[in-house]
């Protein structure tokens, strides 16, 4: 069985690592060999963070080679661009419709306006989701990670009860219900947008 490669990217504090851990745990429970490698810098907040989750019969490298990622989850648009070279030409990119302006260090260029169009031009299947707003409506914008994870779950062959068990095991009790609902909302959002088989009309910019 070939290895499935997932890349999750975001800004420090958005829950990139937790989402990766949940996916890795679910994949392990579903019977796969798993590696989850996370990449982040100093301090607690604000910097670029990304994580690779790889699962299959046997996984070696903690980081997927460039051009081999099947699914990229991006909690922020600029972060989607930053790691897009890891995505394979036929890969899928799930992007949160959310921007976080970086602080400027000797780079005064404007925030790229056409990020999603650019990704579509590379041939990726791009799906935009309003994960932060959905999470905010459910009670806390920080659950955007669970919304995106729910959307990803629609593409993967990991049974629903495995996801449920994983959330229960890993998410703190006081946040469990919020994350459950966010996860479910992500699944629904994707199904409504056309699921894993068709492209959502309004939000896809894939050619």
């Amino acid at each position: 069985m070939p290895v499935t490669n997932v890349l999750i990217a975001g800004v420090g504090g958005q829950g990139t690592i937790l989402a990766s851990e949940l996916l890795a745990m679910a994949a392990m429970t579903a019977g796969y060999d798993v590696k989850q490698g996370e990449f982040h810098g100093v301090a607690q907040r604000g910097g670029s963070v990304f994580s690779h989750v790889r699962f299959g019969e046997r996984v070696y490298s903690p980081m997927a080679p460039r051009g081999s990622v099947d699914y990229m989850l991006a909690l922020e648009q600029l972060e989607a661009l930053r790691y897009a070279h890891f995505v394979k030409p036929t890969g899928t990119v799930l992007v949160n419709d959310h921007r976080v302006e970086p602080i400027r260090v000797a780079d005064e260029r404007p925030y790229p306006e056409n990020a999603m169009g650019f990704l579509g031009q590379q041939g990726f299947r791009v799906v935009m989701l309003d994960a932060t707003r959905t999470a905010l409506e459910l009670g806390n914008y920080r659950a955007a990670n669970a919304v995106l994870l729910g959307a990803l779950a629609e593409f993967l062959e990991i049974p629903g009860e495995v996801w449920e068990r994983t959330l229960e095991e890993r998410v703190p009790t006081r946040l469990l219900e919020l994350n459950r609902r966010a996860f479910a909302a992500g699944r629904t959002a994707l199904t409504r947008a056309g699921g894993s088989t068709a492209l959502p009309d309004a939000t896809s910019s894939s050619p």
């Binding site: 989850q36 100093v42 301090a43 604000g46 600029l78 602080i103 260090v105 056409n114």
Partner: protein, 576 residues
Amino acid sequence: MRLMSGNEAMALGAWEAGVAFAAGYPGTPSTEVLERLAEYEEVDAHWATNEKVAFEEAMGAALGGARSMVTMKHVGLNVAADPFMVFPYAGTNAGFVVLVADDPGMYSSQNEQDSRYFAKVAKVPILEPADAAEARRFTAAAFELSERFRTPVMLRSTTRLAHTRSRVEPGERREADRQPFSRQVSQFAIPVYARFRRVELEDKLARLREFTEEFQGNVVDEGSDPIGIVTHGIPYQYVKEVCPNATVFKLGMLYPLPRRRLEEFCRRFDTVFVVEESEGFVEQELASFGIRNVIGKARFTNVGELSADLVKAGLTGAPVRPDFSTDIAILPRPPVLCAGCPHRGVFNALKKLGVLVTGDIGCYTLGCLPPYEAIHTTFCMGASIANATGFHRAGEERVVAVIGDSTFLHSGLPGLVSAVYNRVPTTMVLLDNGTTGMTGHQEHPGTGHTLKGDTAPAVNYEALIRAIGVQHVEVVDPWDLESTERAIRAGLEHSGPAAIIARRHCRLLPVEKAEQRTPYTVVLDECIVCEECMESGCPALVWEDDGPRIHDWECVGCSLCAQLCPVDAIVAAEVA
């Protein structure tokens, strides 16, 4: 079966091996090893003030007969180098394992440093695992090796091993018998005895050279492709990713190396690739054995972290796929101080005062970035105060040393004592945020709690600093910009050494997060678009076309931007 990081697996392995005592100082990527160990009831684990102290505590416990472990990041070993170099002469009693985590790529460090050289200088054996399951097994093997040869053993980790999760099958704990300490004075290193121990150390190394030939962690994966590769640790995973069918000699024991087996392996191939991360340690050892048919660092860089892509490029010459930054503006995103971070108030004042600022190790190194650019040097733990003294000696009059609470207790204090003793008018700002922030909120001797969660006496900084002879000591709330600036100015004007303690909890501590303060908002009608508020550098504040906005979900109500506003256009949201 459980999903575990390398760090968690090393803690599990140590627990299973019957470790009784462990000490360390937080340092990414090593921190979670001790945190996880502390969760086991049978293990007495604590944070020490610094790595040297931690090492000496664990060393004492091992001499006293308890299996012990000390944990640190690579630069921590620099601090602990003194005991690390001397202890092998005496040798240990119970098992003693030194976990050192290197950080190739400097994800959270100020330098790259290959700790394998340290072990070679100290004549200490090294084990290096390649994944979490092996991290568990090798940790147990390290304790056995340590007791068998009565030597400290380095368990070498890297960021990628420490922070990668994979499957681990946990086992049971095996309690180790305590070995009574024998008061044999000749075991210890005063010169008259050390000269004998020096010779014995060489004998021990000779026996370790025999052991490594048999060590089960040095393995050859026979493959069908006619390619021979020598590798170790995480690079092994990249090699297998790229060349699953190559014949691979995977080294688990990195020092001493199994010379005879390597000679035999290298004879089988015209050319052998040596794929190792950081320096060409193995390559140099092979050269010293007279093995010439190897290609190593010429193809695999010693700078930064390797990857499957870089290993493939080194083996085949295939180019590494570039990112899209030449096609679209992928702006850099450095980390920032959090909304409400108490450090921000201090940097605002320092920037205004225009003084030279010597920095230290912690989140506050971010003060070197815009909009503050108010940290001008950062080197190593505790350096800020002594560096400031040096700048004074070089003729610089207005110098401020900025240091965090945990770092001050780690190694800042001796610098302050020296400043007092030598009558240098060094001004220190102690950023007392009540935690070890950057590594993820570890307790320390100033917080009032231990690693195990018990209450503990908390250092009284004011009393301590006065007791060593600093006469000007003032405590301020860094959320109060005016008072903070005034206090630092007063410190600079004082003729002798001065200490300003900027005291407010890290915003991410649970006690702070629980506090509900009213977020602030911008009254656009009154805003004069002067951009003064943006000088706060707060991530909750964003600039739109017509002026600033505050993300109410990010704002914690510190009021810093409101204090900066010259026309009171930023107000608490409820009165807006």
